[in-house]
Amino acid sequence: MTAADVAPLVDHLFRREAGRLVARLARRFGVARLDVVEDAVQDALVQACRTWPFAGVPRDPAAWIATAATNRALDLLRTTQRRSRLLGGDAGAPDDAHDPLLAAPGAPPPEPPDPAELGDDELALLFACAHPALSSETAVILMLKTVGGFGVREIARGLLAEPTAIAQRLVRARRTLAEQRVPLAIPDAAEAAPRVQAVGEALYLMFTEGHSAAEADAVIRADLCHEALRLALAVADHPRLGAPDVDALVALMAFTAARLDTRVDDAGVPVLLAEQDRARWDRALVGLGMARLERSMRATRLTRWHVEAEIAAIHALAPTFDALPWARLVEAYDRLLLVAPSPVVRVNRAVALAFVAGPRAALDALDEAGADQRLARYPWWHAARAHAHERLGERHRALEAWEAALALTASEPHRRFIVARLAALGGGD
């Protein structure tokens, strides 16, 4: 580290390179050695972190890390081989000189110039993570750790889980991939559609997790949303795998991500849609949403992502809250119920219905939805009822509903919001 000019590192360089290298080395050494590959990449980054402060940042940081990671992987694999030979006494095992995988690396294949873009290696790993043998929840964790370059603690914070639980799920997931001998390859035409659907579902879940609660750790939650969008874009833009419903998924994510900054105020309290500062919605993301929404219209089949993208578009494009076309939103929710019926969608529909047909109609719709017992544990059902009761001047019922919502809410910012509503009604404690 000298007084010489140190070029600033590109945003998220380490994270992106981690993903890229894990993907490349996993493809080279096999999915059964994924854990060794991840360790090698981590060790290379640690080496960089501990050496560059003294030696300076190299002119090509990505190349430096790639070389270090490859060498480290070879070291670790040779040690593992030697150890298993010593322990197993396997006289017939090939030694290093004959193992093609451990031969000297040679020139790495050319990478896409834009560090934000995904190469084929990363797409292959992404699809492996969404293998049918793994649940969507596990796919999300594995995607974030391997392709995403996130750390275990970051993933735990983003998903509101314990780091040890995340680590355990990763161990089991890697073991499953090894046992199933999951190939690291981009699916061929015959199996592309269901595999793309599986990846899409995992990315939708990843985005939802990032978007769900306005928790204190807003940065990592936003990172999850942006990562889901980045990965979805890579699939949408692939010449063979791209499909109209993936464009719809991208549109849905882009419109929703455009509003991320305004959802929570400086104190971490959620801001109602009506009060969000629309001037701060990200125009570039809204533009991306529009472009992909249009491309998604090529579809011959309406999917839930299409309808959700449409709903998100209606919100993103309304100049003000008062200008929202609520009747169109209700109608869109009706269509969503046809392709993806769920009690939560009914709640959202009822909220929109309130603006069209008044709070009594909304309450009736909410009570009808409440026939599904699951809603009793869903705080937003109670919150929507509380709102409707308030607008009807039914103070006592509103207080009851807010209390019920509060009892089900773990998120601190949401709790603060509800407590404020209770105080405004002159109730609660």
Partner: protein
């Protein structure tokens, strides 16, 4: 101007859990800290030590014993050192308080004795 050695103490295991993003931030903060020192003329040099425990020599003559220093099982090792110029200890401490090493270890500041 007096010179000071900044001896960087750390636990080798501490980096296991640090994420790529966090490591990048550390590198960036080192860059900022180092440049700030260099621009103001305080930076003299820095050396990273290799990642192993070194050798311990004890006893003289026939009683000499040489052992390998601990590393992976050690709770704490010296990872490297910086040499800076500062008017006095207070000034040296003021320059060191932003050192990113403090995020992952501790720093010992010692003045070099010079005639």
């Amino acid at each position: 101007m007096p010179r000071f050695v900044l001896i960087l103490h750390e636990n080798p295991a501490n980096f296991a859990d640090v994420s790529p993003e966090e490591m990048q931030r550390m590198v960036e903060r080192y860059g900022a800290w180092g440049q700030s020192l260099a621009q103001r003329g305080h930076y003299v040099g820095g050396h990273k030590l290799t990642d192993e425990g070194g050798r311990h020599l004890k006893g003289a003559g026939a009683a000499l014993r040489v052992t390998d220093g601990p590393y992976t099982e050690a709770k704490e090792v010296v990872g490297g050192l910086f040499i800076i110029e500062a008017a006095d200890y207070d000034a040296a401490v003021a320059l060191t308080r932003d050192c990113p090493h403090l995020e992952n270890g501790w720093v010992e500041v010692r003045q070099i004795d010079a005639p």
